[in-house]
């Protein structure tokens, strides 16, 4: 194995040297089936036990912030779809929110409700993917297909609304792109009635399973202090018992008009994260149902010019995406082009705590913990 050691260099080309004879560096990624994209972790292992962790990111860096500065405000919107490509709706929402604040646009109520509908459907689809991929990471194939069968329908619904399956570009400044029609509403109701038994099945398939439980319970334990210090948000923080959800705390869109619970769990391990995301799906379903039942009348968009010029100023605002807080910081110099757009990506902050949690775990657990973080590397690298 002497030659293989030479290949293990960081992005700089700095050689990694093992500390003792018993250890070696294991390079996981950027091409690896379970790193959820192009993530690279260098693990110094002693047998199977991880003793040192070096995460390396940036393999999917496309310079979204730089490109956004060279486009009109409207043109920056479809770029956000490409960041968190599993929860693209919330990325659209995150950018429209500060711009609307800055321009003081009153978004019609129906538009806000449609936004909530789209956001929650997207959250459902995103968590369904998490459900499937965590199963894959643990070596079970079937949960993935169970989840994808439902996710496919959710994507279809979003396609009916927005016209695309993943990169929606649906939530626009001032409202949404298209209205909901009776036909689409019917499809939504069909989905809900079909989803409920499938949702129960997904629980039965995985939750009671002793092997699954022993793989996730107590693995990657974290406490809320550590996570807050690292700026970790979303279901991962909620899994440590912190009841914090921006949908409740600082309601955007029309979330203050809906009745839903913030799901928390107390252990802070992989199992808790799984439970949190699973029950969040149920809450999303509740919100979708309320949306369909009480959709208000009115216009679905407040018309505004394509090439608009927001006033000078800067705004920081954040929303709750399926992965955590997506903060957007915009600076406008009063021209047609944004002066600066900064995305505070939730996966980016969540991943930074990874070395703390991985120390002393087994290689199999590394995969499980990474899977429970549910990172999206389009968002980490931007």
């Amino acid at each position: 194995m002497s030659e293989a050691k030479d290949f293990l260099t960081t992005k700089t080309g700095t050689l990694l040297e093992q500390e003792s004879e018993d250890r070696f560096w294991l390079n996981m990624g950027p091409q690896h089936p379970s790193t959820h994209g192009v993530f690279r972790i260098l693990l110094e292992t002693e047998g199977e036990v991880v003793k040192n962790v070096k995460p390396i990111i940036g393999y999917l860096h496309r310079g979204v912030e730089k490109i956004s500065e060279n486009r009109e405000w409207m043109g920056a919107l479809p770029l956000t779809d490409r960041m968190d490509y599993l929860g693209a709706m919330s990325n659209n929402m995150a950018l429209t929110l500060p711009v609307e604040k800055l321009m003081e646009i009153d978004v019609p109520r129906r538009a806000q409700w449609l936004r909530v509908l789209a956001l929650e459907t997207n959250r459902l689809a995103s968590h369904l993917l998490f459900y499937g991929t965590l199963g894959l990471d643990l070596g079970a194939l079937t949960p993935f297909f169970f989840a994808f069968r439902q996710r496919e329908i959710a994507q279809y619904l979003l396609e009916l609304l927005s016209g695309q399956r993943i990169t929606f570009n649906y939530i626009r400044y001032g409202g949404v792109r298209g209205d909901i029609t009776p036909q689409i509403e019917r499809e939504f109701r069909n989905f809900i009635s079909g989803f409920k038994p499938a949702f129960k099945e997904m629980w039965d398939l995985v939750e009671g399973n002793e092997i699954f439980r022993s793989r996730v319970i107590g693995v990657g334990k974290s406490d809320s202090d550590l996570l807050i210090r690292y700026g970790v948000t979303g279901p991962i923080l909620r899994a440590t018992g912190v009841k914090r959800d921006l949908r409740k705390d600082i309601p955007y869109a029309a979330y203050d008009e809906f009745d839903f619970n913030v799901v928390t769990h107390d252990k802070g391990d992989t199992y808790s994260r799984w439970i949190c995301r699973y029950h969040e799906m149920g809450e999303s379903l509740k919100i979708i149902e309320q949306c369909l039942d009480g959709m208000p009348d009115g216009p679905y968009i407040k018309k505004m010019p394509f090439f608009f010029k927001p006033p000078q100023g800067e705004i920081y605002s954040a929303i709750d995406t399926p992965r955590g807080d997506l903060g957007v910081y915009i600076v406008s110099d009063g021209s047609r082009f944004p002066y600066r757009i900064r995305y505070r990506a939730p996966s980016f902050c969540n991943l930074s705590v990874l070395p703390e949690l991985l120390y002393g775990q087994l290689i199999g657990d590394v995969i499980a913990i990474l899977g429970s973080f549910d990172p999206v590397f389009g968002e980490v690298d931007r």
Binding site: M1, G139, A140, T142, S214, R215
Partner: protein
């Protein structure tokens, strides 16, 4: 460009090696079978062939009799060739069956494109793999890299000579039958470890460590489960084990009534089944080729035909494992005679049915369960399976011993008269101690997992 420069060998060294090993394998099998065989099970068939030969000689008026050695070699080669073809087909088609079963379990269709309902898919896969380039990674130990798939594949094929396909259809009925199967299982590990070492890949290396630890550990409960069955049947020979289940009679008397060993040996069956799943690297014990952790483990660096050898070996091993389970616990080819089929064909049918049942359960587990972690895998073996299998073995021993004494008291009178109570007391003491210890260590295991502190 050092890092991208794979050393690709276009010289068909690999194929030649494989061919040579193939020939060596045949010679080896032939010699082995010749040396250890008691009688030919395909007696009527081969009698007719021999008669044909004899007729031929008569017709041509050749001198003297055909030498028996030559005759035996020809017959044996024919038999083994048949087994080989059957086995390769089974190996290829069990992938198809598995893919279909898994697909239906997972709400999809599986292969549908090649042939009607995708029935020709394995053949297309095989042809594709044949054309692929065999790549040896830079820095790999090329010789071991070539050798490993062959070493994996040969024991798998060698195990096939034991399988009782039907009544009177055991290719080679060795008198050490089940021990031979066990020895081959140990042989296969060598191939896996060589592949892991020869690939010069850290994932493969870890997989190698895992595989050796796992396979060596799981052989112990497996051996105990096998030995319990052997105690009951009184023989290592495959045909004897089946007969003991069919008519209840063994060399030392037997139970006296026909019963499949799954009933008295239910625990043994469970243990053997789990160990067989572990030995063949299947979910939930597929740690050595963990797709999501180790990027398919020991065969990460293999391509083309060499990879296909691993693949075939895995499926052939599953087939053999299922066949051995069916033989030892489910009465082998025993079963009621079906209408229109005759005794031989219905026995073949029953054997295939039982093997398929076991195979289906293995696939079913794969469709449901996640993978264990390394420490849990070892714990399952050493803390659960081995104690239980040992206790099972001991109790079977006592039972069989008592049964034998009951059947043939005159043989035992002398030995037992004086020390009977002492030995019984000692046995009870040992057992109580053992159970106490087991209970003490297993308290943790008996709690429901929810209460356990993990």
């Amino acid at each position: 460009m050092k890092i991208l420069n794979w050393r690709v060998r276009n010289v068909p060294v690999g194929k030649i090696t494989v061919l040579l090993f193939g020939i060596a394998f045949f010679l080896f099998i032939a010699w082995q079978a010749w040396a250890f065989t008691d009688y030919w099970s395909f007696e009527p068939v081969f009698d007719s062939i021999r008669n044909a030969f004899l007729d031929l000689r008569k017709n041509f008026g050749g001198p003297g009799q055909m030498p028996m050695g030559l005759y035996n070699t020809i017959i044996l080669t024919l038999k083994l060739l048949g087994v080989l073809v059957v086995l390769l087909l089974v190996g290829a088609y069990s992938t198809y069956v598995e893919r279909k079963i898994l697909a239906f379990m997972q709400d999809r269709l599986g292969p549908t494109r090649v042939g009607p309902r995708g029935i020709l898919q394995p053949i297309a896969d095989g042809l594709k793999l044949l054309q692929k380039e065999c790549i040896v990674p830079l820095g790999a130990d090329a010789n071991f890299h070539y050798l490993a798939p062959v070493i994996c594949f040969i024991p798998a094929l060698m195990g096939a000579v034991l399988i009782p396909f039907g009544k009177g259809m055991i290719p080679v009925d060795l008198n050490v039958g089940i021990l031979y199967f066990f020895a081959l299982g140990a042989f296969g590990e060598l191939g896996i470890f060589l592949a892991a070492w020869g690939s010069n890949n850290k994932y493969s290396a870890i997989a190698g460590f895992r595989a050796v630890a796992q396979l060596v550990s799981y052989e112990i409960p497996m051996a105990f489960a096998i030995m319990s069955v052997v105690l009951l049947s009184g023989s290592l020979k495959i045909s004897d084990i089946i007969n003991a289940q069919v008519d209840g009679l063994t060399a030392h008397g037997g139970l006296g009534f026909p019963i499949w060993f799954i009933v008295p040996q239910f625990l043994g069956f469970l243990i053997f089944f789990l160990s067989a799943v572990a030995e063949t690297n299947r979910t939930p014990f597929d740690l050595a080729e963990a797709e999501s952790e180790l990027v398919s483990g020991f065969h990460t660096e293999y391509t083309g035909l060499r990879w296909a050898f691993f693949f075939l070996a895995e499926y052939v091993n599953i087939f053999i494992g299922a066949a051995i389970i069916a033989t030892m616990y489910l009465g082998g080819y025993a079963g009621p005679e079906l209408p229109f089929l005759g005794i031989t064909l219905s026995s073949v049918f029953w054997f295939c049915f039982k093997v398929f049942l076991i195979f289906f359960i293995i696939v079913w587990l794969r469709g449901t369960l996640p993978r264990l972690r390394v420490d849990q895998l070892m714990m399952t073996c050493w803390k659960r399976l081995i104690p239980i299998s040992m206790a099972n073995f001991l109790l079977t021993g006592i039972f069989v011993f008592a049964n034998t004494v009951r059947l043939t008291p005159q043989l035992w009178t002398v030995h037992l008269e004086n020390s009977a109570y002492t030995s019984i007391a000692a046995l009870v003491g040992i057992l109580v101690l053992m159970f106490g210890l087991a209970w003490y260590f297993a308290r943790d295991l008996m709690k429901p997992l929810k209460e356990r502190e993990t």
